[in-house]
Every structure is written in C-alpha cells, then in structure tokens.
Amino acid sequence: MMSPVSLSQTSKRETPSTPPFAGGERWTDTAVRLLVRSLVVLLIVALWWTASASGSLSADLLPSPAQVIAACVGLVSDGDLAQALSISLYRAFVGFFIGSGIGLVLGLFAGLLKVGEQLVDAPMQIFRAIPFIALLPLFITWFGIGEYSKVMLIISATIFPVYLNTYGGARNVDKKLIEMARSFKLSSARIALRIVLPTSLPSIFVGLRYSSSTALLALVVSEQLNASSGIGYLLMTANQQQNSDIVIAIVIVYAIFGVLLDMFWRLAEHFALPWRAKIAL
C-alpha cells in the first residue's frame, strides 16, 4: 500500500560531496598518522642495525647503516656524487621532456581528431608492446655507446605512458559533456580547448607521473650496461670493486629520486588541478 505522503521517490544527497582529504583531518590525527608511519621505518632501520652489529649480517652482503651513511658522506664530500648526478639528471630530463612531449602531441592528435586516431593509434599500439629495455642493444648499434643511445632509450620509454593516458583521457571525456557542448553550439576548437583538454588533464598527469618513473628506470638500465659517467656508472664501478656500502648508498639515491618525483607530481597536480577533490600531500 502506498504511503499517503511519499515525498521523494528518487532522492539524492543534497550536501556537497566532501573531498576525502581536504582539511577534514585534525592536526592531532595527522601527527599520529605520521608518527606511526615513521615508527615503522625506524623499526626496520633498527633491525638492520642490530643484525649488522651482532655480526649475524655479513658486511660483504649488507653493510651496516653506519657504513652506508659513511659511504654517502664520502660520495658527497669528494664530489663524485654531484658530478654523476648532474650527468644522469641531464640525461633523464632531456629524455623525459622529448619523450613525454612526443607522447603528449601524438596523444592529443589521436585523442582529438578522428584522422589522428586512424593514423597514429594502430602503430602506437604495436610499438608499445615492445619492452623498451629490449631495444638497448639495437640503440647501441644505431646510436653508439655515447649519450644518444641512453637518451633515445629514455625517450622510447617515456613516449608511451604519456601517449596512452593522453589519448585515453581525451577519448574518455564524458559523451554527455560533448553532447551538452553541441547543444550549446560550441565550435570544435572550443570543445577541444574548454572541455576535452581540461577534463583529460588528470589522465595526462597520470601519464607524466608514470613516464617520469619509467625515465628513471631507463636511466638505470642504460647507465649500467654501457657508461663511463653518471650514477649508474658509479654503482657498477662500486659493485665491481665489491664496495657494497657505496652500492647501497647509490640505491638510496635512486630511492630519494623516486620519492622526490612523487612529491613533485603530487604538488603539480595539487596546483594544476584545483577543481578535483584534494589530494593528500
């Protein structure tokens, strides 16, 4: 039996959707969360330390934290690290910018234009099936063992994440928004600039973020297989000389790179995409 007063049949929340992290957390909660997180890290380091100190962990396999710190200090103080870093960062940045630039342009071309999709997408889908590391020997043959082969490897590693996410982002814009735009008589150029591009920006950011870590990976690979400079070279030399403290120190440098990259992209998204639900920083 129907109730005499049934006000809402299809009711929906009338409250604005609250973003998951936007200031909803009290600072005490944040402090506790950070404390717990850092405690876990400290615990792992403490375990490592005691294992080294008690002699149950051989210094040849894994040097103690103190040795690794000393190696880090040594690398920094004698300038080896700074020199290697500048060379490696240069390779990574050049490769990343060129690769992501190509990926972005091709992705927009295929994502915005039918003709672009027909021309670009099929070959891109074929090429992306190739693991980029497999190209290294070929690149050495083609471009020699100098800078070119390394930068080319990074380029070929970074094109696809950006291409796929840009193309996918542009193609997955809500059809209803496009229909709205048509009903309001927007020109194709305005649909692209005002609707498709901003709406696919989060997806483009995913691509850039992903390709920046792929650039790092390609850097490691290319510098370890053939190099006479850079942090990968430093790592390989240390490894050949059985200096595992330096090896670990350089692995930590790579890890710091990764963390910094992640922070960079979080910040970039925070400022470039203010219209999205807030992201935890």
């Binding site: 007063v5 299809t10 209803k176 005002r194 609707i195 709406t199 203010p274």
Partner: protein, 261 residues
C-alpha cells in the same frame, strides 16, 4: 506518413505570419524497427509552457532531443526557434571550469561575458558561487547553474529534460518555484519532459501524455500561478492523468500525495 526530411533544428516554418514558434508535423522516430514517435503533430505558441508526460520508453526524451537538434527525425518536420537551450537530467557542468565559465561556456570569455554569467547566476541565486568549481556545488546548486547556462542567452525555447528527477523532494519544490519565476520573467516557450505529474500540473499551461508514439491526451491548464499543489482542480486533473498513465489510484486520494510514474 509524411516523408519530407528536414534536419531537426532548422526553421521549417517559413515566412507565414503568426507562425507558432515550435511546430512538429508528422514527426516520426524509429529505433530498431519500432516507432518511438509515430506521426506527432504539435504546435506551441510563443511563451507556452508545455509539460510532456508518459510512461517510460514512450519517446518523451526522444521528442525533446529532436527539438534540441540532438537527433534527426525519420519522418516529418520539426521547426524550432533559432535560440534554444537545454537543461539535461544531470547538470553536465565541465568539472575543470569555474562556475561562471560554465554558464557562458559557448561565449568568448571576457569581462563582458563574465558580467552576463554573473547576472544569470544572480537570477538563480548563486552569484556568490561564480568562482567555485562544480565539485563544490550540491546537486541542486549544480542544476541551478545548468539553468543559468540555459537562460543566459535569452532562449526563445527552453527544453527541460527531467531536470529535477535526481534532486531530493525539498530541493525539487524550491526548483519548481524558481522555474515558475524565471519563466514568468523571461517568457520563453518551455517544453518540460517529466515523470512527475505534480511538477507538470504546477508549472505547465498545457500537459500532453505520450503513449505508444502518439499524443494520447492534450490538456490545457488555466489555473492561476503560483499554484497550490493541494487545489481541488489539480487533484481532479491528477486523477485523470494517472488513469491515462495506466495507474489505478483506487481509494487513495490524499491531496498531498505525490506520485512519480
């Protein structure tokens, strides 16, 4: 069946004096061999407020999409005014653009268009949300922005496709008052597609019921506005419309009852 094919949205009325602003002649639309609309004739006078009711799948939304130029007819002609706009069931705001830019999404963005957006937002009571992002709006606010976007160019024809169906009951009542007010201020011709009989009775001058691709009922309403949803005249009409829509109301005649078909 009339086989003249005209692109929906073009002005098919021609130079006749006193021509109705919206004219459908023998309009048919066929999906998968089934005529969703089967020879619809419909004339709307300028400023007329039409509500379209009908069971699900009877082509109410198709009719509206033909008027909006989003679909083409399979037969017959559609004539609509040049300046027309749509409010969809969902707000369809661009999430990456601020509210005011959403309102003037089809204009060149400038100080002048911003002023236009602000005055349209003022009319729907959201002038202080001009700089907000769509994600920070409630469902009702977002739909009011969609209404401002539809009204900003002073359309001669305003097409409303179940615009309040997703809102809660109290917000919906407020939206009804707002639409009534805006319609009286601007007097566009309105076509409102709805499931909600009360909404149709409160707002429209004329209610049609679509059934099996045809106009089954065409009722003129002359109740003064703003209307009282508990008035006896509306109650009788409601009972009649429910019968047309195939709902047997039985002994339930509670005046406050809102029935959604």
């Amino acid at each position: 069946m009339n086989t003249v094919r005209l692109q929906a949205g073009s002005d098919a009325i021609g130079p006749r004096a006193l021509a109705p602003r919206v004219a459908l002649q023998g309009v048919s639309k066929i999906y998968n061999g089934r005529a969703v609309l089967d020879g619809i004739d419909l004339d709307l006078a300028p400023g007329e407020f039409l509500a379209v009711l009908g069971p699900s799948g009877t082509g109410k939304t198709t009719l509206l999409r033909l008027l909006a130029g989003l679909e083409r007819v399979d037969g017959g002609t559609v004539g609509v005014p040049k300046v027309h706009s749509v409010v969809f069931q969902e707000p369809r705001l661009v999430p990456g653009q601020r509210v005011w830019k959403n309102v003037v999404v089809s204009d060149r963005w400038s100080a002048a268009s911003r002023e236009r957006a602000l005055s349209a937002l003022r009319e729907v009571g959201l002038q202080d949300k001009a700089q907000s992002w769509p994600k920070d709006l409630s469902g009702g606010e977002a739909q009011r922005v969609a209404l401002a976007r539809a009204l900003v160019h002073e359309p001669e024809l305003l097409l409303l496709d179940e615009p309040f169906a997703a809102l809660d009951a109290l917000t919906r009542i407020k939206m009804h008052a707002l639409v009534d007010e805006l319609w009286r201020a601007h007097l566009p011709t309105v076509v409102l597609v709805t499931h909600d009989i009360d909404e149709a009775l409160l707002l429209a001058d004329r209610v049609i019921v679509l059934r099996e691709g045809k106009v089954q009922r065409d009722i003129a309403l002359s109740e003064p506005r703003p209307r009282d949803r508990s008035s006896a005249v509306l109650g009788r009409l409601r009972t009649g419309l429910l019968r047309d829509l195939g709902v047997d109301q039985g002994q339930h005649t509670g005046v406050a009852q809102q029935v959604t078909v």
